[in-house]
Amino acid sequence: MSEQENATIRIHVMGKTYRVPAGLTIMDAMEYSGYRFIRGAGCRSGFCGACSTIYRREEDYRLQFALACQEMAEDGMYLVQLPFTPAPRSQYDLEKVDPTENVLLQYYPEIARCVACNTCTKACPQDIEVMDYVQAALRGDITRTATLSFDCIQCGLCTMRCPADIKHYHMAQMARRIYGRYLSPVPEHLEERLREIEEGVCDSELDKLVAMNEEELVIAYAARIREEE
């Protein structure tokens, strides 16, 4: 184990070679080397899509795509950071869109140019079936587009790689919002609670609690009964 801890690897950052400890993510390895990010670092937990990175291994002609905060640095990696590049998106009014099968094609007509090359899917660091959701969108299947794209963190790698200029992540965001707004029902008990709040039904009980001193609150808190799962 101590051997593993003391091991170092070489990374090539935009042409310069650095020696860093093994066991770091690409982001940590670059910082260890002396880089201080302004761009290309965000949540550092795989949720924001700020740290798209392209790399190539020695002796391998293929480009690889990943999130720098999630992928481990490996010996001999050639690294390039890709500051996030916003793609054009369509403005729309969710209250006025027609939530039927042609809506995605209407706002993002370029999805019709998909050549099914699957480059988007291969570039996705979230392992999303990107091409499949584009095809679903083309068929007018909003629900499938929304659910397949759910884990999208909008890093934009798909869009940067697409030979057909499709703005996958914007289109999928619109699909998820249309699904959420029009195709998924609002539970009735939410409406009922909102009505109670509107009518002031909840106020008196709350006012009583707001007026309590700490001693009274301690007693009330201890008397709670936890609902069983």
Binding site: A22, Q70, R176, R193, E205, E214, I225
Partner: protein
């Protein structure tokens, strides 16, 4: 070399950790049958907090030497940032040249700031008369990282009053009652707003899938798989973009501006790439700058995003905004302890509300899995360092197991990939399958419980300055419950958007001043603080020691 270390791992873990996993597996059936340990009594909670929670170590904090809240106790790291010089000499800045003149300035582009801009617009401020500035990209924030959920008392078995009691008890009765009232009463409205803008909440049979969180007495945790924060924020931001409200990215605010009467009047923002500053004049200013996770209080690793350095709190304090509950820090009970590459990243509480239980290296359960966060964290610290029941990783970190395979035993096969796909992916990237094996966890710095004190409208003690989200103070008392930060963001983001818009409408453009910064410098001197520290710090520095010690010049 990396290949050698890979071979030593068996499905992600070294041999000796595998041995411990075998002991966890051996007790699993029995634990599933008997259920988890019972919740602690109030006395047991107090005792474990006093003895093991990092917040209860007085030597790690000190009284602030200056400013409006002088005498308040804050973590040393926070005091260091407040007892520091500004980044620039006010005399070097030309306040006569105004670059942006707007009704409403929003500082911080996470959930609270974005919601504030949307609701200010709804309240009648034109899109082009609002300006959102943000240090990193629009949305690079803790708001998008929330995994487990958002609380709202909407089920018939539940009520805003029960929610209130859970919040204020969890916060050790230090919360401001009017803020908790606003939080719980607005919660169902916020869920409704999210529905209106198309957030995809988890539902089944025309009902929300609602679960417990630590310290809740009703199941009211709404979720969007374990991407709750991302799912909500990406819809909110998309709505914001449809409205065409302008945003300046990579432009942190480095000082607030006041007018000659001491009202908030805008800010100075700073381009970290070109070193230029810009002057923004505004009739109302919203602070939505998040917390201090990246300051690594007590050297803890953190779940927070790269920019969480409490800049907003620092500049608001210099401008005269008082702070509250800043002595209180939230350590999330379950941060990643292994693998080291993702040390301190979040293992969502949702893992526990779906059935995973913390267990020792020998597979013994030792705590009710859904205590309030401070209590749960203290119990894990005790187990690791007092009872010696934690497992040490190859890099010397101790942790306990969170027995994730229990989730599928309780909820059925496939639950993890369906409801916890972010968690599955995070460990999968390191060769660990959480449906088969437990994960090693230890508390991690998660949340700033206190902040700039606000009233129920989001107003601070500086007229015209409003605050919402993690940088606000008074909502959560001394300990926030799971699912209430997502709620805070949108409840108070909405409220400050409306309050700030109303304030802006009755205000006139102001004469700009940095006198408060000049005065703060005088106070530093008077307090006898001799230091070369400057703040806000804007970004943490993770370069290797060898690089820092041999570098020339300074990066801001």
């Amino acid at each position: 070399m990396s290949k050698v270390s890979k071979q030593e791992l068996i499905r992600g873990y070294p041999q000796y950790m595998r041995k411990s996993i075998e002991r966890v597996e051996a007790t699993r059936a029995k634990r599933l049958e008997s259920g988890p340990p019972s919740p602690m009594t109030a006395e047991e909670r107090d005792d474990i907090l006093n003895r093991y929670h990092p917040d209860y170590k007085p030597e790690k904090k000190r009284k602030l030497a200056l400013g409006i809240s002088a005498g308040e106790i804050v973590p040393n790291e926070m005091a260091d940032m407040l007892e520091a010089h500004p980044l620039f000499d006010p005399a070097d800045v030309d306040l006569a040249h105004i670059d942006y003149d707007v009704s409403l300035l929003v500082i911080g582009g996470g959930g609270a700031g974005t919601a504030a801009a949307i609701f200010a617009h709804q309240e009648g401020i034109a899109a082009e008369d609002i300006l959102v500035v943000t240090k990193l990209r629009h949305g690079d924030s803790n708001s998008i990282m929330a995994q487990g959920g958002i609380q709202a008392a909407d089920r018939p078995e539940d009520s805003p009053a029960i929610h209130y009691l859970d919040v204020i008890g969890g916060g050790h009765y230090a919360n401001k009652p009017e803020l908790v009232r606003a939080l719980v009463l607005d919660a169902p409205k916020i869920i409704r707003w999210h529905e209106d803008i198309g957030v995809m909440y988890d539902k089944q049979d025309r009902k929300y899938l609602e679960a417990h969180g630590g310290g809740t007495s009703r199941m009211r945790m709404h979720s969007a798989k374990d991407y709750t924060g991302k799912a909500i924020f990406s819809a909110v931001r998309d709505e914001f973009r449809n409205l065409g409200i302008p945003v300046l990215e990579f432009f942190p605010a480095i000082e607030l501006l006041l007018d000659e009467k001491g009202n908030a009047a805008g800010a100075i923002i700073y381009n970290m790439e070109t070193n230029e500053y810009k002057i923004i004049r505004a009739k109302a200013t919203v602070l939505s700058t998040g917390g201090f996770g990246r300051v690594h209080i007590q050297n803890f690793p953190t779940t927070n995003h790269y920019g969480a350095t409490a800049d907003g709190l620092v500049i608001a304090y210099r401008a005269g905004a008082n702070i509250i509950d800043m002595d209180s820090v939230q350590y999330h009970p379950t941060g990643v302890a292994y693998p080291t590459a993702i040390l301190g990243q979040l293992a969502t509480e949702k893992l526990r509300n779906q059935g995973a239980v913390p267990v020792t290296k020998d597979g013994e359960a030792f705590v009710f899995p859904l205590e309030p966060r401070d209590v749960e964290a203290a119990a894990i610290i005790r187990e690791c360092w007092e009872m010696n029941n934690g497992l040490e990783t190859p890099s010397g970190v101790r942790g306990v197991w969170l027995d994730t395979p229990m989730i599928e035993e309780i909820q059925g096969k496939g639950t993890i990939k369906q409801r916890l796909s972010a968690m599955w992916m995070m460990w999968h990237r390191h060769g660990i399958d959480i449906t088969e094996d437990p994960v090693l966890v230890y508390p991690t710095l998660h949340y700033q419980n206190g902040g700039v004190e606000i009233d129920e409208h989001g107003a601070t003690s500086v007229p015209g300055l409003f605050a919402a989200g993690e940088c606000d103070g008074g909502v959560h008392g001394k300990n926030r419950l799971m699912g209430n930060s997502q709620l805070d963001i949108y409840v108070f983001g909405r409220r400050v958007g409306m309050s700030a818009a109303r304030w802006a409408k009755k205000s006139r453009p102001k004469k700009l001043s940095l006198q408060h910064v000049v005065d703060y410098e005088k106070q530093l001197k008077k307090a006898g603080i001799e230091t070369d520290r400057v703040s806000p710090i804007l970004l943490p520095d993770y370069r290797a020691e060898t690089v820092i010690s041999s570098s020339l010049g300074r990066f801001i």
